[in-house]
């Protein structure tokens, strides 16, 4: 019976994996086509959405998979952005060097913050992460001579052709999404979800929950930092506002709107948020009112977000 089980499981598993791979290829190809065919001004908006998708996916590793609400992800996002601009301005680093170092910087920054913040739970965890990112905000603003303060720090790139920048952002985002998918479907990802469901039980089963969540926090920090690097590709700048609490709130909103219990939910949220923001702001000054209403409706009616609404596929929470 067990053998028969296994055969049917494999038979059922294979076409779905194939369909999934084709779906992702189609998605990436479709976005690439958009980037090449749309007018540059429009393509830049799609590029923005692709970039923040990584930010939202990385934040959702904590939010959806870990059940950890962090309001300090801006610290890691900005660390990647500043690494590119300051590295280029101060030490003449190439973009590629900054891109390669960014995940390590994000993880290294997440280590001390996580060591302190993860000792607390829920609201206190959210507030502590928020406090840390505000601390970095003040630092970036005050250290005018180093960071350029409020004026920001600009950078001029090799990617003078915007289409190249678009393809670069898309490629890095696709690789990041793949890596995050690999992580959430690993034993680590399963234990992270199980810990979200019942922390005490996981501990009783012999898992050091604190170390586990710390690892998740560092992985999330690493990918948020990569997302910050992508931000510089299309904005060519970094500035202290990146460290504001509103920046930390955005990926959380995207994940909730898109659906935090589906892997690609945050990507849907990132596109809806970015495109919605761009087009609504042309027609109304009250776009935040609309965002608020949408957010409220989703939290009250569909806690599993747009992905749950679309029911792209039945997934396990």
């Amino acid at each position: 019976m067990e053998l028969a089980d296994r055969i049917t499981a494999r038979a059922a598993g294979r076409p779905r994996a194939l369909a999934g791979a084709l779906g992702v290829l189609g998605l990436v190809g479709g976005i690439a086509a958009l980037g090449l065919l749309l007018p540059v001004s429009e393509a830049l908006i799609v590029e923005d959405a692709v970039g923040v998708s990584v930010f939202a996916l990385a934040t959702n590793l904590l939010l959806g998979y870990g059940g950890l609400v962090s309001f300090g992800q801006a610290a890691f996002y900005a660390s990647g952005a500043y690494l590119v601009t300051l590295g280029w301005r101060r030490w003449d680093w190439s973009f590629w060097l900054a891109l390669a170092l960014a995940p390590f910087l994000g993880a290294a920054l997440a280590l001390p913050i996580g060591l302190i913040a993860l000792r607390t739970r829920k609201l206190y965890f959210a507030l502590l992460t928020l406090a840390f990112s505000q601390l970095f905000f003040v630092l970036a603003e005050k250290q005018f001579t180093f960071t350029g303060g409020d004026d920001g720090s600009f950078v001029k790139f090799w990617a003078t052709e915007p289409r190249h920048g678009f393809l670069l952002v898309l490629a890095v985002a696709a690789v990041s999404a793949l890596a995050l998918w690999w992580i959430v479907s690993s034993p680590f990802g399963l234990v992270l979800r199980a810990t979200r469901e019942n922390r005490e039980r996981m501990e009783a089963l012999g898992v050091n929950v604190f170390a586990h969540q710390l690892a998740a926090f560092m992985i999330s920090g690493a990918f948020c930092s990569v997302a910050g690097v992508l931000f510089v590709v299309y904005s060519q700048t970094s500035y202290p506002t990146l460290l504001q609490w509103t920046t930390s709130g955005e990926p959380v909103i995207m994940a909730v709107v898109g659906g935090m219990f589906a892997f690609l939910g945050p990507v849907i949220g990132a596109f809806v948020y970015t495109l919605g923001h761009h087009y609504l702001i042309q027609h109304t000054t009250h776009w935040q009112l609309i965002l608020g209403a949408v957010l409220l409706a989703i939290v009250l009616l569909r806690p599993d977000g747009l992905a749950g609404l679309l029911q792209l596929r039945r997934r396990k929470a």
Partner: protein
């Protein structure tokens, strides 16, 4: 017989209240050992001391030759002392199969492994474990959709997945229907006899206690008032006094 778990003079004080007061407890390998006592006797506190959730204020605790008082719960669990909870404690939004897989991964010390895939053996072992507690048919269902009895069985499967040398069950039949109680009773007995597992459990249902226990420890107001075989305990005048009016024990 070797003693797997040995508590000497174990105590826990909350302010001036002695929840557990100088308890000696020796659990022998392969035995079904039950702890009984009226409500508030200190059974749950005693279990929380054994698993490291609470730190004792006095006494010593030796599990498999190693002092464990003051150790963290996950460290004690890794040594093989694993608890199934009084309030069924499962992972509501994971499937039954995923839940057991998570427990297996924890035992294999692969919880932090985010690079390699699941071992091919993990799913097979998880299915076997579900079969052994009678959940073979519901592996793909979310844990929070299972019946009360099935959830309790899943809880026990989670504990078994860690291959414990001592399984702690805190009132495994609490709040269960007679049919479900009968099922869990059979399961516990089968696990001990069939797998050679040592089981320490607390229980209100005297039919279950006297039906399957090798040894019984009776707690009252945080102290041990009797310890011995089922017959010994049933004949003990102090136990009768504590349970006065309780037909089940007097019988």
């Amino acid at each position: 017989m070797t003693v797997v778990l040995d508590a000497q003079g174990l105590g826990k004080r909350f302010g001036s209240f002695h929840a557990v007061d100088g308890v000696d407890l020796a659990v022998e390998e392969g035995a079904i050992h039950s702890v009984i006592g009226p409500n508030g006797a200190g059974k749950t506190t005693l279990f929380r001391l054994l698993t490291g959730v609470l730190t004792p204020t006095s006494g010593t605790l030796v599990f498999r030759g190693e002092r464990t008082e003051g150790k963290r719960p996950h460290a004690i669990a890794r040594r093989g002392l694993v608890q199934s909870f009084q309030m069924t404690s499962i992972f509501p939004r994971l499937t039954a199969l995923e839940s057991v897989e998570a427990a297996i991964v924890a035992r294999e010390r692969r919880a932090l492994d985010c690079v390699t895939r699941f071992h091919r053996s993990t799913a097979g072992e998880a299915r076997e474990l579900l079969d052994s507690v009678g959940l073979g048919e519901v592996g793909q269902l979310r844990a929070d959709t299972l019946s009360h009895g099935d959830q309790r069985a899943l809880d026990i499967a989670l504990a078994l997945a860690t291959r414990p040398s001592l399984l702690l069950l805190d009132e495994p039949t609490a709040g269960m229907s007679p049919t479900e109680t009968h099922r869990i009773r059979g399961l516990v007995s089968e696990l001990a006899r069939g797998r050679g597992l040592t089981v320490l459990f607390s229980e209100h249902d005297m039919d279950v206690v006297f039906g399957i226990s090798d040894r019984v420890t009776v707690l009252h107001e945080g102290r041990v008032i009797a310890e011995g075989s089922v017959a010994d305990v049933q004949a003990d005048p102090q136990v009768m006094a504590v349970y006065l009016g309780s037909a089940e024990v007097a019988a």
